[in-house]
């Protein structure tokens, strides 16, 4: 192998191999390290959905990178057999962006929780969506800070009682799907960790989508904010014959508060940053210092 792997031109990546030499199962994407999550944690469902999705796509584990931030959910890379980058709180998106921009041949995930993606790192979401970098962002939303033991988060409901909000949360909860839609994400979906099969289908679609995909996953925290009962009754499928090209309808639906819709809210095709940024791909020259310096003579 060369020192500098050349990315495949145009940013196409390995997809479902037509006749794979080895058929990989979800188990092949699970790592040696056993998850450290609490029993019943929603993140188990997400792990299972991601590995199922990768098996459906039959991508090679060494061509996948899971980039994460900090928090319970951000431990994900350690529990997989793929490559991984366990970063800094809030920075999964820019870490993943740099990787994908420089190596469009890889399948890159940015994963994190609601603290990572809606609070400390919320400033990156508008930009990655606007640039339309082809990464799959999975936000595991438990509406609480689990790793630090239960403080309120930007997606906790108004009035939510926690150790950091002993008199009730005063702020209005962020609406991740609505934000992703308005920021210009080209694939926006919502899943539920208690429905890992459906979630894995969403992830397959998100990976196959060319451009930035955002999936909010309701992923309850059994330890500090157990919302399984609540979501079991709130979740519902998208309306029949849902037109995923209709941004206004998607925004309207994302504003809905009495139901939690699951599925692909919106998808559109738009130029992908790392492909647009390679418009000179055909005429790339090796760097020649002497000729470069002539401009300073």
């Amino acid at each position: 192998m060369s020192d500098h792997p050349r990315s495949t031109a145009g940013g196409t990546r390995t997809r479902v191999a037509p006749r794979p030499e080895v058929v990989r199962t979800a188990k092949d994407y699970k790592g040696e390290v056993k998850p450290v999550w609490c029993p019943g944690c929603g993140d188990f469902g997400v792990l299972s959905a991601v590995t199922k999705a990768l098996a459906a796509l039959q991508v090679k584990p060494y061509e996948v990178v899971i980039v994460s931030g900090i928090g319970c959910s951000s431990r994900m890379p350690y529990f997989m057999s793929t490559y991984g980058l366990h970063g800094v709180h809030g920075r999964a998106i820019p870490l993943a962006s740099g990787l994908k921009l420089s190596r469009p041949d890889l399948t890159v995930f940015a994963m994190g929780g609601d603290g990572d993606l809606m609070s400390i790192g919320a400033g990156h979401l508008p930009h990655v969506a606007a640039r339309n970098i082809d990464i799959t962002c999975v936000m595991m939303d438990n509406q609480v800070y689990g790793l630090t033991k239960g403080q309120g988060s930007p997606t906790s409901p108004m009035g939510h009682l926690s150790k950091s909000t002993p008199y009730g949360m005063i702020a209005k909860p962020a609406k991740p799907v609505l934000l992703a839609l308005t920021y210009g994400a080209t694939f926006v979906a919502r899943g539920y960790s208690a429905q890992p099969n459906e979630l894995s289908e969403l992830i397959v679609e998100a990976v196959q989508h060319k451009g930035f995909s955002f999936i909010q996953v309701q992923s309850p925290c059994t330890e500090f904010y157990n919302t399984y009962d609540q979501y079991d009754s709130l979740v519902t499928d998208l309306p029949e014959d849902w037109d995923r090209s209709d941004l206004r309808a998607a925004i309207d639906l994302a504003l809905t508060e009495d139901k939690v819709h699951l599925g692909v809210f919106f998808e559109e095709e738009r130029p992908v940053y790392e492909i647009e940024a390679r418009k000179f791909e055909e005429e790339v020259q090796p760097f020649d210092l002497t000729s470069y310096l002539r401009r300073f003579a």
């Binding site: 192998m1 792997p5 490559y83 420089s102 990156h124 310096l293």
Partner: protein
């Protein structure tokens, strides 16, 4: 011209020109740049310095160039020729003029009352408006005046004007006219001063800024990913990368903030691409948490900090060498990083290559500390010979799909092979958490100790590579009594001061390390032991390098600190050398 009748012995051909005026007039800086470029093209050596107002429109700006037919090491002392576009320019800078200095000024706008100066008053703006019917031509008119007075041939400037305005044909003729008018105007002036550029060696050199040189070195070293957020005085590195990288198959990202900038670089480096970011103090502060991630995950990374005056927003367009503590010690927890400090524009080019090589070889972040004066000054440099400067790439695992691969395997040098996604079948997680040799989270005391030692072992290995005279050149008297240890962009002023002190009979030498972490300890110890007193001049208040030397090597130097946003002059350092010498 009267000047041609001057006897050669009286002619001064190493002099400092300063041009000042409100930026609203337009072209204050470009007048200086054009004069400088023309002189450099003729084979003269130049050294420029500029000072912008922090405001976008309006405010006083000035440009200074020292020109000589010998190598120019520093901005020089004082001002020989002042070009004042307005009264403020005269009032701000006249204090640095001396007996026999020249002042060229807009005679409608500037009142010059000091009879010690040789005065050439010309109504710049009135001529541009009324005679040339071209108000925006003031700067080119002044360029013509300067050329006529100080001996730059008209044709050389005409070429330059044609080049500058090649995309705006309608402006070429107007500017050529203004240039010729200024040049011819000097024939009516009785030249009373002694400044005149004689002959040069006609060797063609490069004229570039520190930022230009860093970009050239980085691209040569194989940098193919850059991410940055606009900040003075580092923004032009971002702009150059944005122009160059796409054509080299690389990517330049203007990030949404500095955390995103350095994070993207870490992501790119994880994928095997050589990556760099460039910023200044405030942005550097924001990057520190991620600097620790790069060091913890052992990923190569180059971070350029073009220091400016701080703290907080400070004085964004002025220089200071006050980010050294942050570069050396900034960040939570113990983690190694390499810190380089180029000493001149030429050095920027070489050290940028070294920065990448060290980052790749030792798999850690390398900080390049430049400063506002180095970023934006231009200097003539010889065409570099990089054929003997190898480019280093990180150690990677072999192709054999051995089951034994451990990303963070302990080794004699601390360096362990790094697998690349999509290339090597061995996968691993680059962990922000403390981890064992395979990269799995592990928080046992033994593992934390072993891994911290592994990471710092790489720094010791790097020290073995860099504790050499190449990295810490010594010059001056072999049996010196006073030894100056400087760092960064002050080198030229120190070198000139040492030369002048030596000429005056002082026994003085200097050592100028280009690497500040790890310190070239043997070089510094030997130097310090060979002199009676060590003097450390630096442009900061706390004496950050002196502190570092004291803490690391037990040396307690005489500290010489300057703040105020301007670089050292040779005379300031000479004065201090004389003072220290009188006490040894």
């Amino acid at each position: 011209m009267q000047a041609r009748s001057h006897k050669d012995s009286q002619v001064r051909n190493d002099f400092v020109i300063r041009i000042g005026g409100d930026t609203a007039i337009g072209g204050v800086i470009s007048t200086g740049e054009n004069f400088t470029t023309a002189a450099a093209r003729l084979g003269f050596q130049v050294f420029t310095f500029r000072s912008y107002p922090a405001e976008i429109k309006g405010g006083h700006a000035w440009f200074q160039v020292r020109i000589s037919n010998r190598p120019v090491l520093s901005t020089g002392d004082g001002v020989d020729i002042l070009v004042a576009f307005d009264q403020e320019a005269y009032e701000r800078h006249c204090g640095e003029l001396r007996e026999g200095s020249v002042i060229i000024y807009d005679s409608d706008l500037v009142q010059v009352d000091d009879g010690r100066f040789i005065r050439y008053g010309v109504p710049f703006q009135r001529i541009a408006r009324q005679e040339l019917n071209f108000a925006r031509g003031t700067n080119v008119l002044v360029l013509g005046l300067m050329a006529g007075l100080f001996g730059l041939p008209l044709d050389c400037l005409q070429d330059l004007v044609r080049l500058r305005y090649k995309r705006r044909a309608e402006l070429v003729e107007k500017n050529l006219e203004a240039l010729a008018y200024g040049f011819d105007y000097t024939k009516k002036i009785r030249k009373e001063d002694k400044y005149y550029l004689g002959t040069s060696d006609h060797v063609s050199r490069l004229i570039m800024s520190g930022n230009d040189a860093i970009v050239a070195g980085a691209l040569y070293a194989g940098c193919r990913f850059f991410a940055g957020y606009p900040i003075t005085p580092a923004s032009d590195i971002l702009e150059s990368m944005a122009r160059e990288l796409p054509r080299l198959g690389g990517i330049c990202l203007q990030a949404e903030d500095e955390m995103a900038a350095i994070a993207s670089c870490i992501g790119a480096s994880y994928g095997g691409t050589k990556a760099m970011t460039a910023t200044s103090g405030p942005g550097f502060s924001l990057m520190i948490e991620l600097l620790g991630l790069a060091s913890m995950t052992e990923l190569p990374l180059v971070l350029v900090d073009a220091q400016r005056s701080g703290p907080s927003t400070g004085m964004p367009t002025k220089l200071e060498q006050a980010d050294l503590f942050q570069a050396l010690y900034g960040g939570h927890g113990d983690f190694p990083r390499i810190v380089l400090a180029p000493a001149s524009v030429e050095d920027c080019l070489y050290r940028a290559v070294h920065a990448f090589n060290l980052a790749e070889k030792y798999q850690m972040p390398v900080i390049v500390l430049s400063d506002q004066s180095l970023s934006h000054r231009t200097q003539t440099i010889d065409m570099p010979n990089l054929s003997r400067l190898p480019v280093v790439n990180r150690l990677q695992p072999g192709d054999g799909a051995s089951e034994e691969y451990a990303r963070y395997a302990l080794s004699d040098t601390g360096v362990s092979p790094v697998a690349l996604p999509g290339v090597h079948v061995h996968t691993y997680v680059a962990p922000g958490l403390e981890h064992d040799e395979r990269g799995h989270p592990n928080q046992s005391p033994q593992v934390h100790e072993a891994m911290t030692e592994k990471r710092f072992l790489k720094l010791s290995s790097a020290a073995a590579d860099t504790d050499s005279p190449d990295w810490a050149p010594r010059y001056g008297h072999p049996k010196a009594q006073v030894g100056v240890i400087g760092w960064g962009a002050s080198e030229g002023a120190i070198r000139e001061a040492v030369e002048r002190a030596t000429a005056k009979g002082y026994k003085v030498a200097a050592l100028h390390p280009r690497i500040l972490n790890p310190l070239p300890q043997a070089q510094i110890r030997e130097f310090a032991a060979s002199v009676k007193r060590v003097l450390v001049p630096e442009v900061n208040y706390q004496g950050q390098f002196a502190h570092h030397l004291a803490a690391s090597l037990g040396i307690s130097p005489v500290r010489f600190n300057k703040i105020g946003g301007l670089p050292f002059t040779p005379a300031e350092i000479l004065g201090k050398i004389e003072e220290v010498a009188s006490h040894v």
